[in-house]
């Protein structure tokens, strides 16, 4: 599958300044595109638009030439920057993990998710542990494109490396497309097949 952003511009209302202006971007199957910009250049907004959370003010986001579905499972999935905000604090982790599909044991083992964690509440896990759940829960076979919005910023260096290794393995194995949003140029160079700069 191919995700294509055609000349998208975004602002919150008619009078406010443009957050994004005329951004075009395409992500092919198996491709990992790094989107790099300093803070405040609309990286997260772009991520939300690409994943269909927000409608662009101008331009369109197409998946295989069609608009993103507004109902049903979206083949473009977003992993958030703040895992602690992305899981329901009142659900035990088991329920969060199995919200849209049941990941098999092998995937859980690979992600380093321990059985014991499944019965805990989010407040009893650390950010890195939660982020593994957030990633694992959307790695269904139906997910074709992953948008990673600063997913490793809150992790320590070792965990960062672990999470990225797993994610890259799975992306290669399934030939998923990925958009890696980060302000860390070194990371983008390491994991991506090419990088796009928003600040130019």
């Amino acid at each position: 599958m191919q995700l294509e952003a055609k000349n998208i511009s975004f602002r919150y209302d008619k009078k406010s300044p443009w957050v994004l202006k005329d951004v075009s971007l395409s992500i092919q199957e198996g491709e990992r595109v790094g989107i790099v910009a300093p803070s405040g250049f609309g990286k997260t907004t772009l991520a939300r638009i690409l994943a269909g959370y927000e409608k662009p003010s101008e331009g369109q986001v197409l998946i295989d030439g069609k608009e993103l579905p507004s109902k049903g499972f979206c083949p473009v999935q977003l992993i958030y920057q703040h895992p602690e905000l992305s899981v329901n604090p009142r659900w035990r982790m088991e329920k969060t993990l199995n919200e849209c599909f049941t990941p098999d044991e092998a995937l859980l083992a690979k992600m380093g998710i321990e059985k014991e964690w499944l019965h805990r509440w989010p407040s009893e896990l650390s950010g890195g542990e939660l982020q593994r759940f957030c990633i694992a829960r959307i790695l269904t076979p139906k997910t074709k494109i992953l948008i990673c919005d600063e997913i490793s910023t809150m992790l320590d260096v070792i965990t960062q490396a672990q999470v990225w290794n797993i994610l890259l393995d799975i992306a290669k194995e399934r030939n998923m497309g990925m958009a890696v949003i980060t302000h860390n140029k070194a990371l983008a160079e390491k994991v991506c097949t090419r990088t796009v700069r928003l600040d130019k």
Partner: protein, 277 residues
């Protein structure tokens, strides 16, 4: 470390809830099915102090106060239950609609809430009670129809806050319908605050029923209700008949405290920050 001993805090709290609920249910059903002759008039026993035979003593007509209390509390619980049922349905629908649709609906609901909360509660109760024909029906309708505004506000606030959280948005992108999201994400989140609201509504409803009755717009005099009993006991308290006010008052207090206890304990058990302690 998980606490694996059988007698941990969780078990203790659950036991506490079961005990409290058992007491309230026992009073409720005992009163519901009690034989009216058990609190009938016996002039030969009038104004007896508490004893083995009459645990709470008797009143000026020789009626057994203990049985009357049970029946009265049970009656009050029925009215409280009706009030909370109606209020909960109204509050849920209005609160969720107001938060989800926003705009005109939101403004309309807020207007209704302000209107209801702006009027003195007792005046509203008396008005509705009179319009609905006074008596049992009148007071029940009045109490049932006037306790939803605060609950509506609670529900609206919670849903409003929840609607734009990342996990609700993510759930939507995972293909969940609005109904599923409402049932799996919103309801469990709103439920604790909502239940506490409901449980706090019980004593309110009972008190309001008592005050309207006291003012003569509510339950008929012959009907045993805590409000009626307390109002009657006021005539006798100056002559030293302390038991007529003390015991019914204590029963009411106990019921209110137990409701509060159930609410608070449930809150602790369901709260993710303290649930596994």
């Amino acid at each position: 470390m998980r606490n694996t001993s059988l007698w941990n805090r969780r078990t203790r709290l659950t036991l506490l809830i079961v005990l409290a609920a058992t007491y309230l249910l026992a009073v409720f059903f005992w009163g519901l099915f009690i034989d009216p002759s058990e609190y009938g008039v016996h002039y030969e026993n009038k104004l007896l102090a508490p004893s083995g035979q009459h645990l709470f003593g008797t009143d000026a007509m020789g009626r057994d106060m203990f049985k009357r209390c049970i029946k009265g509390l049970s009656n009050s619980l029925v009215i409280g239950l009706l009030a909370s049922l109606v209020s909960s349905v109204v509050a849920l629908i209005m609160g969720i609609a107001s938060a989800v649709f926003g705009g005109f609906v939101d403004r309309f609901v807020n207007l209704c809430v302000d209107l209801c909360m702006g009027l003195p509660h007792l005046v509203l109760l008396i008005l509705i009670s009179c319009m609905a024909g006074r008596g049992t029906v009148g007071v029940t309708v009045a109490v049932a129809l006037t306790h939803w505004p605060s609950l509506t506000r609670i529900v609206r606030q919670e849903v409003l806050q929840l609607r734009n959280t990342q996990y609700v948005l993510a759930s939507r992108k995972m293909g969940k319908s609005y109904l599923t999201i409402a049932l799996t994400h919103m309801v469990p989140h709103v439920l604790p605050a909502y239940l506490i609201g409901l449980i706090l509504l019980f004593p309110h409803a009972i008190m309001h029923e008592a005050s309207v009755t006291f003012l003569g717009f509510g339950l008929p005099k012959e009907m045993p209700a805590i409000g009626v009993i307390l109002a009657e006991s006021m005539n006798h308290i100056t002559t030293g008949k302390w038991w007529m006010a003390l015991f019914p008052g204590l029963m009411l207090l106990l019921a209110v405290v137990l409701f509060d206890l159930i609410g608070e304990t449930l809150k602790k058990l369901w709260n993710p920050n303290s649930g596994n302690e």
